[in-house]
């Protein structure tokens, strides 16, 4: 039961701070225990399913694309995966709505429901596009064997420049947007895709070339969201 070990730290944190620091009893202990049992069971199933379903599928598709040899379809697949998994991401929807409120407060956009909705929708599309672009770039990098750190360092420079140009209210949101885009199902799939590609191309090392897709997917949204803030 390694899932029990995964949960121990957070349970300990809650118990310690609630009982020893706040000195309050734990409310609704029964419900808490039931919930923990669900989390345990869920985590165990999820990991089992990863190794049975998501990892092998991601890798077998990567191998198949490499064998097919069509760059266009591979890049389209990469884009679809990035865009499609991000556009419906609940964390992104939540952050886009809050961003619309900030923009409305700062009088960038009108103080109407319609203006906020269209702003939030535009922001979501921007982030989804940026993740699609990131996975395309990342896949292209694996094919070419470029070292990941040059691109990331270049991305950092762009982020710094954009930060100087972007309206101050959008910066915090833009920085956060990088972190929220990668969901629990996207990450294993994208990782399997990268590793599968790197291991089916001669001369690539899965460790060095296979990782890095997620890093791109968390960097480009920052740039795109700040760009959106400048343009709108």
């Amino acid at each position: 039961m390694s899932s029990a070990r995964d949960l121990l730290p957070i349970l300990f944190v809650i118990a310690f701070f609630q009982l020893a620091v706040l000195q309050q009893p734990i409310p609704d202990l029964f419900n808490l225990l039931i919930g923990v049992l669900f989390v345990l069971l869920g985590l165990t199933l999820f990991i089992q399913g990863l190794e049975m379903g998501l990892f092998p599928l991601g890798e077998s598709m990567a191998h198949a694309f490499a064998r097919k040899g069509s760059l266009l379809w591979l890049l389209l697949f990469a884009f679809a995966l990035g865009f499609g998994t991000t556009v419906a991401e609940p964390a992104l929807i939540a952050i886009a709505e809050e961003a619309a409120e900030v923009a409305s407060d700062a009088a960038f956009i009108g103080d109407t429901e319609a203006a906020r909705d269209s702003y939030a929708f535009g922001l979501r599309m921007t982030v989804a596009l940026s993740v699609g672009a990131a996975i395309v770039l990342g896949v292209f990098r694996i094919l070419k064997g470029w070292p990941v750190h040059y691109i990331i360092a270049g991305g950092y420079v762009v982020v710094v420049i954009m930060t100087a140009l972007a309206p101050e209210q959008i910066i915090g949101i833009a920085y956060d947007a990088g972190g929220v885009t990668t969901s629990t199902i996207t990450v294993p799939l994208v990782t399997a895709l990268g590793v599968g590609l790197a291991s089916s191309i001669k001369g690539r090392n899965p460790m060095v070339d296979g990782f890095g897709l997620i890093a791109f997917a968390s960097l480009t949204p920052m740039i795109f969201v700040m760009l959106y803030g400048i343009l709108i």
């Binding site: 957070i10 944190v13 620091v21 069971l41 985590l43 990991i47 209210q169 972190g179 990450v187």
Partner: protein, 266 residues
């Protein structure tokens, strides 16, 4: 006990999240690659496991961890708890319990983060055990803990976020030159995987609670940014972990030489 309606809600929501991904995979598999799925039954079962696991996981979180976590976040950031007197400025050192709580929550939630577990398993397999999945996860969790603590400090003192993040970038770039080459892409990736299902809601509650209760902060502007800290610092901590591991694997050699040199010490 969670009711049936709750189950249905979470299941539908998860289905909505999973659907576009499955649709894309199936479309490319059958329309473009035109191949039957290898081991179709096992794959399907795997997907069912992933789906059922996520639903149970999310229900459990909603049921157990989030309510109490959010309640605690609001208690720790309440002005009464910190000992603030209305109208007087609060010293940043008065928030010591907030820092401790931020650190502990950052660490605890990251260790339980499913996407990090996935990446760590993959990295452990690929490196043939040279990188231990558990060690990697602890390194990432320490990074998130430090990041969130620093992010909380930033909200309290009100320094613009970009100063911290840009300094962080410089550190990452410098570290990249010294870190073992094998770890660099993995370290960059671990920045993005740390913040999803478990961490984001709790950390967001902490940030929003603080921005509301610290005088002069606006929840809309200062409440953001903790996630950014949580995705930057693991990059540093993973590279540091790899450097440390490399350094330690060299050290025994040096130690043996030393022993040979001074035999009477043994």
């Amino acid at each position: 006990m969670p009711g049936f309606g709750e189950f249905l809600d979470v299941a539908l929501e998860t289905l909505r999240d999973v659907f576009p991904i499955v649709a894309i995979l199936l479309f490319f598999q059958f329309a473009i690659l035109r191949k039957p799925l290898p081991n179709a039954r096992k794959l399907l079962l795997g997907f069912v496991y992933v789906f059922a696991g996520l639903v149970l996981f999310l229900i459990g979180l909603e049921q157990a961890l989030f309510p109490i976590g959010k309640l605690m976040a609001s208690q720790f950031t309440a002005p009464e708890f910190v000992g603030a007197v209305p109208g007087e400025a609060v010293d940043w050192t008065d928030y010591y319990w907030v820092y401790a709580f931020a650190f502990a929550v950052g660490f605890g939630t990251t260790v339980a983060e499913p996407s990090l577990i996935a990446v760590a398993i993959k990295a452990g397999d690929l490196s043939g055990g040279a990188i231990s999945a558990w060690g990697l996860r602890v390194a990432v969790a320490v990074g998130v803990a430090v990041g969130i603590t620093l992010g909380v400090f930033r909200i309290i003192v009100g320094v613009p976020i970009q100063y911290f993040i840009i300094t962080g970038y410089v550190v990452v770039v410098v570290q990249t030159f010294f870190a073992p080459k094998l770890i660099v892409p993995l370290a960059y990736d671990s920045g993005g995987v740390t913040t999803s299902t478990v961490t984001v809601p709790l950390v967001a509650a902490l940030g929003l609670g603080l921005a509301e209760s610290v005088p002069g902060r606006s929840p809309l502007i200062d409440g953001f940014g903790l996630i950014a800290f949580a995705s930057l610092f693991p990059i540093m901590s993973v590279m540091a972990y790899a450097q440390l591991a490399e350094w330690r694997s060299k050290k025994p050699v040096a130690g043996e030489q030393k022993k040979e040199g001074i035999p009477h010490e043994i």
